[in-house]
Amino acid sequence: MTEPLLSLRSATKVHDRGGAPVHALAGVDLDVQRGDYVALTGPSGSGKSTLMNLIGCLDRPTAGHCRIAGTDTTALDPADLAALRRRIGFVFQSFHLLPGLTAVQNVALPLRYGNVAPAARERAATAMLERVGLGARLHHHPRELSGGQQQRVAIARALVTTPDLLLADEPTGNLDSRAGVEIRDLLEELWREGRTLVVVTHDEALAARAARIVRLLDGRIVRIDTGAGAGAAS
């Protein structure tokens, strides 16, 4: 078996809240293979976002290890972490688009830090927006877009560097049900194209599409279910 794209061993995160330690993650072991589609679910406060931040190299574990494509993130300095982040696409719960930039400029942002020439950035960003169905909204600012459209811009931004791994924290959490369905379909499509997805969600309908459903409680994995995607997995 090849090395997993993502591998967590006893990953622990302890926050300090006014002197009292909070075990946001209490020793998590998890492997994610290339082409996998993992849904993370669990009640509020169970540590889902904390886990995503570790995987996305936005945070470091208090104890334990997190390996991405064979690299142990705990040993990396800030510049190397930045380089590793360029291989990961992140979709945030609340879109996090820059209001001053147009859709294309927002999507092109990660390419800036990947040493891509300006013209090539714009071309790649345009293509990616067309891919998520926003070819007609390239030069709109976020405030001129609906919630679903904004989330699609955010997904395009996460995908524009053709990352090894796509992380999405509650991508449908701020959307109405119709927009939620669109995003659900889009994610599934991306996965079928061969991308590796880890998605945090409260939305059982979204989780059910994944290959594996990882259930968290109080910072621990309590159960791993098989989803509809398992049969379809390549």
Binding site: N53, P78, A83, F90, G100
Partner: protein, 412 residues
């Protein structure tokens, strides 16, 4: 290029808040530039004026002894003699020596239509070299031969020429002094010179002492003077000259009242000290103004960075390194400083150009100089601005580079 465009666009989108800061910088720079330019102009003008004043000149006046010396009583009058010039020439470090005496007398133009009552300076041929003045092109100063042959020649100050002839190109014309015709051989231009005596030189008439003395019974010069080789050794040169003159006059060399001296090199040093002090003062005031503006920049930058923490976290989440964030933030501060400081420099250049267009009396102009923004001054100001920007921007930029993405993105 793209980066620069984005930087400027972002600066533009913050224009309302940045405007006061930029205006502060603009005026800070304007103030500093103008102060430094005036300082420069003043310095150049004073340097020129000092040079034209005979900066390495030592002048001697005969006085009255204040103490007995070698059996002679106090209260003896000390009279300088024409031969003292030759004596001075023997002293080490003396490059030129002359004598001077003067009286006011009636002067009439050759056609007899105009007259004046100027100061007539009876001098030696080296007077010009000692005072470091120049004769206008087409003419010359008095020569050794003029003295030997007691020629009736004169050098006229430009203002006096205007008064008598209504023009300045008067070489070759004659005028009557002491009821004798004198031929004009040169014109002394109008220049700002410090430490002139008996009025401005451009209003005087200069004739050879040797010619004038018998005509008016002027036996003794009021002054003998020398140009010395090195202003830095002014004190030493003065002592050497005093020793020789005192020996000839048979007075105590320590008796200051017997032989009075005006050492221009020492005076010039004091004046230069005042000029330098003034320039330093102007610089300090200007830099303080700039510092006030820089504090405004630092404040604004801190506020901007704090506001931008979520955005910085986001950029980091998409692969920006702390170094990229830091330089980007610093570049923004420098852009702000560049815009404010650049416009200040431009305004200063315009203002100074305007000031130089105002017609001024040539003598006043001689002290003020041409306050222009020199390349050196501009570079110094640009350097100071860069330094201010760097200092004001470094701390906020470090704060930006230290942003932790997780913390930043939890803001909402």
């Amino acid at each position: 290029m793209n980066e620069l465009r984005e930087l400027l666009r972002e600066t533009w989108s913050n224009r309302r808040r940045l405007l006061p800061v930029v205006i502060g910088l603009c005026f800070g720079t304007l103030g500093l530039s103008v102060l430094l330019a005036f300082g420069d102009g003043f310095d150049t003008a004073m340097n020129g004026a000092l040079q034209r004043s005979g900066e390495t000149m030592v002048r001697w006046f005969g006085g009255v002894t204040s103490r007995p010396f070698r059996g002679q009583p106090a209260g003896r009058g000390m009279a300088l003699l024409p031969d003292d010039v030759a004596l001075l020439r023997q002293v080490p470090g003396v490059l030129a020596a002359s004598l001077e005496t003067g009286i006011n007398a009636r002067v009439v133009s050759d056609d007899g239509t105009r007259s004046a009552n100027p100061y007539i300076a009876a001098v030696g041929h080296e007077w010009l070299a000692i005072r470091r003045r120049t004769v206008e092109p087409g003419g010359r100063f008095l020569s050794p031969l003029d003295e030997v042959e007691r020629r009736r020649v004169a050098v006229i100050g430009a203002e006096l020429a205007q008064q008598l002839f209504r023009r300045e190109d008067v070489v070759g014309r004659t005028l009557r002094v002491f009821d004798q015709p004198f031929t004009i051989v040169g014109v002394l231009g109008i220049e700002t010179a410090l430490m002139q005596s008996n009025g401005n030189d451009s209003g005087k008439l200069f004739v050879p002492f040797a010619t004038a003395a018998p005509l008016r019974g002027l036996r003794n010069p009021q002054i003998v003077m020398a140009r010395i080789d090195d202003a830095g050794r002014a004190r030493e040169r003065e002592t050497q000259q005093r020793a020789l003159l005192a020996g000839r006059l048979q007075c105590d060399p320590a008796d200051r009242a017997a032989l009075r001296v005006s050492n221009h090199a020492l005076t010039a040093r004091d004046i230069r000290g005042i000029v330098t002090g003034t320039r330093v003062f102007l610089l300090v005031i200007g830099v303080l103004g700039l510092l006030v503006a820089a504090v405004g920049v630092a404040n604004m930058t801190v506020v901007l960075v704090e506001e931008r923490v979520p955005e910085i976290g986001l950029r980091m989440a998409f692969g920006a390194t702390p170094a990229q964030i830091r330089w980007r933030q610093l570049a923004e501060t420098l852009a702000m400083v560049g815009i404010g400081g650049g416009s200040g420099l431009l305004l200063a250049a315009l203002l100074l150009w305007g000031v130089n267009q105002v017609p001024l009396d040539p003598v006043a102009k001689g002290y003020l100089g041409d306050p222009l923004l020199s390349v050196t001054t501009s570079l110094v100001i640009a350097g100071l601005l860069g330094l201010c920007g760097g200092i004001a921007g470094w701390h906020p930029a470090s704060r930006a580079a230290a942003v932790q993405p997780v913390e930043a993105l939890r803001h909402d």
